[in-house]
């Protein structure tokens, strides 16, 4: 019988008290990998109790000692790097290189956690008034939870966990029920750390568990990454329940390619940005805007390069692109391509019917290029979250910027150019939280905040970087005077 996942609560692996289970499939081989419980409010409550209980002692554990746990954690993850990468491939469908890149980026976030003692700092002023000193003291807040998506099953949870707990909080993680195995293995490693019980807890589930997290009064804050509609619900529900919240939503990322761009290098990079992780990332390039005569050269070079992309099972290292996550995802993507065609776009590369030998039932969608896309088409407006790149024309640089700024989303935008003037103007004017200059995936390193504007982000403090130190701590102000005895 296939493994039924258990929750990790208070340092123990416990069965969820539920009868609902969802299957976890390998999207390339369709193998059933495990069954994931839909944890109930009662299960979430158990985790919250464990986390609250752990908080008192954990908060008193010196920050340098807390950081040492992250060192050990990093070492364990390095030791199991290949296993973790493989699990990511198996449950998510991306390629091994992409999975390795994901685990590596996760480790960067552990590194950031190790650095918390240098960033979680008080400050103060002596003699702010006569004989009176004023200080801010940074303190952990309590129990935090993260609700994370399927597209980076290792990396996204690890954006939050190390910083949250090294700041002195305790933590509950609810990974996507589509891809729970990376965190299952990760929590097995965490179990080896000898952390005080209850500092890290894993609760499996989907909507029911997420709802319980949002409403539980014992949780101080929630980090979320997912689609924009859900991000908005999370934001509203959590704030209504008195929580801190940072909710990263979806995206429709534009890339502007100017006539003065180095076309061959640019396209090589755009291609990675559009089709990496089969387009299933919130920083994926969705629309490439060719400015003036750049359009034709961009299209020609794109079609040439993309046609050579090798799609296959992620564990085969010659695969340059893997599957999408599920049958539903594939159907949605295929339908959106068809809808784009209906609305007038030209399909110059069509991935809808791609078959991969040996994996005929796999959830593959081939790299797709839609041409002559216009701003009102659904493929220009809505997030596809698949390996589909739409090409748009702009007569001028200014028109390209206007196209980009018209989007409801504001996660990332990139410009490919050799002009310093245009690059500066782009950074200045474009309404997106992450800007790439000759870089197609403007992914912030762990020590930078993960930007996001408009419907791509709900909240005040972004994930990662110093924002996350602020999110996971509160600053208490102390005003202090002593009477001479």
């Amino acid at each position: 019988m296939v493994e039924r996942l258990r929750n990790y609560i208070g340092g123990e692996w416990v069965e969820a008290g539920v009868r609902e289970w969802s299957p976890v499939h390998n999207p390339a081989t369709c193998e059933l990998l495990a069954e994931c419980p839909e944890s109930s409010a009662a299960d979430v409550d158990l985790a919250v109790q464990a986390a609250r209980e752990a908080f008192g002692e954990w908060r008193r554990t010196p920050v340098l000692e807390r950081a040492q746990f992250m060192h050990h954690f990093k070492n364990l993850v390095e030791d199991r790097f290949d296993d973790l990468s493989e699990v990511v491939v198996r449950e998510n469908g991306k390629t091994l290189d992409e999975a390795r890149g994901e685990v590596r980026r996760g480790i960067e976030s552990i590194d950031f956690g190790i650095g918390v003692p240098f960033m979680m700092r008080n400050d103060g002023v002596e003699d702010i008034s006569s004989g009176i000193d004023e200080t801010t003291v940074r303190q952990p807040v309590g129990v935090f939870a993260a609700i994370t998506p399927f597209n980076f099953p290792f990396m996204v949870p690890i954006w939050f966990l190390p910083t949250a707990i090294t700041c002195g909080n305790t933590f509950i993680l609810k990974p996507s029920p589509q891809t729970p195995l990376s965190m299952q293995l990760t929590c097995e490693l965490i179990d080896e750390l000898d952390l005080p019980e209850g500092v890290v807890n894993l609760v499996h589930g989907g909507v029911t568990s997420a709802q319980a997290i949002m409403e539980h009064p014992g949780i101080a804050g929630v980090s979320f990454v997912g689609s924009s509609p859900v991000a908005k619900i999370i934001y509203e529900t959590c704030t209504r329940n008195g929580k801190r919240v940072q909710a990263q939503g979806g995206a429709k990322n534009y890339i502007a390619v100017l006539p003065d761009a180095d076309m061959e290098s640019s396209v090589k990079n755009v291609l990675g940005a559009a089709y990496g992780c089969a387009g299933q990332r919130c920083l994926a390039a969705a629309v490439a805007v060719g400015v003036g005569d750049a359009y034709d050269r961009l299209r020609d070079e794109l079609v040439k390069q993309v046609a050579g992309l090798r799609v296959g099972y992620g564990l085969d290292e010659t695969s340059q692109m893997g599957t999408v996550v599920s049958a539903q995802a594939r159907e949605r993507i295929v339908n959106m391509i068809t809808e784009g065609e209906r609305e007038g776009a030209t399909i110059s590369l069509d991935g809808r019917d791609l078959q991969v030998e040996g994996f005929e039932d796999g959830m593959f969608v081939g790299p797709t290029i839609l041409e002559d896309v216009t701003p009102e088409m659904s493929v220009a407006r809505e997030e596809i979250f698949g390996p589909v790149l739409s090409l748009m024309r702009a007569d001028s640089y200014d028109e390209a910027v206007e196209l980009i700024n018209r989007s409801n989303y504001g996660n990332a935008a990139s410009i490919f150019t050799s002009s310093g003037a245009h690059a500066r103007d782009f950074k200045y004017r474009v309404n997106a939280g992450n800007i790439g200059v000759n870089i197609g995936v403007a992914a912030p390193s762990a020590s930078f905040p993960f930007g996001g504007q408009k419907d791509s982000f709900f909240g005040d403090l972004h994930g990662q970087g110093l924002d996350s130190i602020d999110f996971f701590t509160d600053r208490k102000v102390v005003i202090e005077r002593w009477f001479e005895g």
Binding site: K268, R310, S319, Q320
Partner: protein, 117 residues
Amino acid sequence: MTPLNTFGAIMTQAIGLEQGLADYYERAGNNDRASACARRRQKMMRIRREAVLEITLEAIDGLDSDDYALDLEDVSENGQARAASTAARFYREVAPGINVRQARRALERAAREHAGQ
């Protein structure tokens, strides 16, 4: 025909190559080279882990593992020279396809080391 079209494919090829050569040199009684290969294998494994940056993954083309087949039967001086030369050529030719400095430098260095042996 196995294309070396990804960072991982190239690094895995390098790891296999060093493993094969380590065994080969050991059979040839050349312990210094054998242990140098074993060390490089470790290093290539570390680089496959550490130098993979999700934001800079770009497809690589024009390389195929068949072009770097080693004859690991012939342990003569000449055979060893040919093996070293093939290994050096492998590293020399794959290095430019890698866009992560640390990895490219390690591959270039491996080319020099094999060539220098």
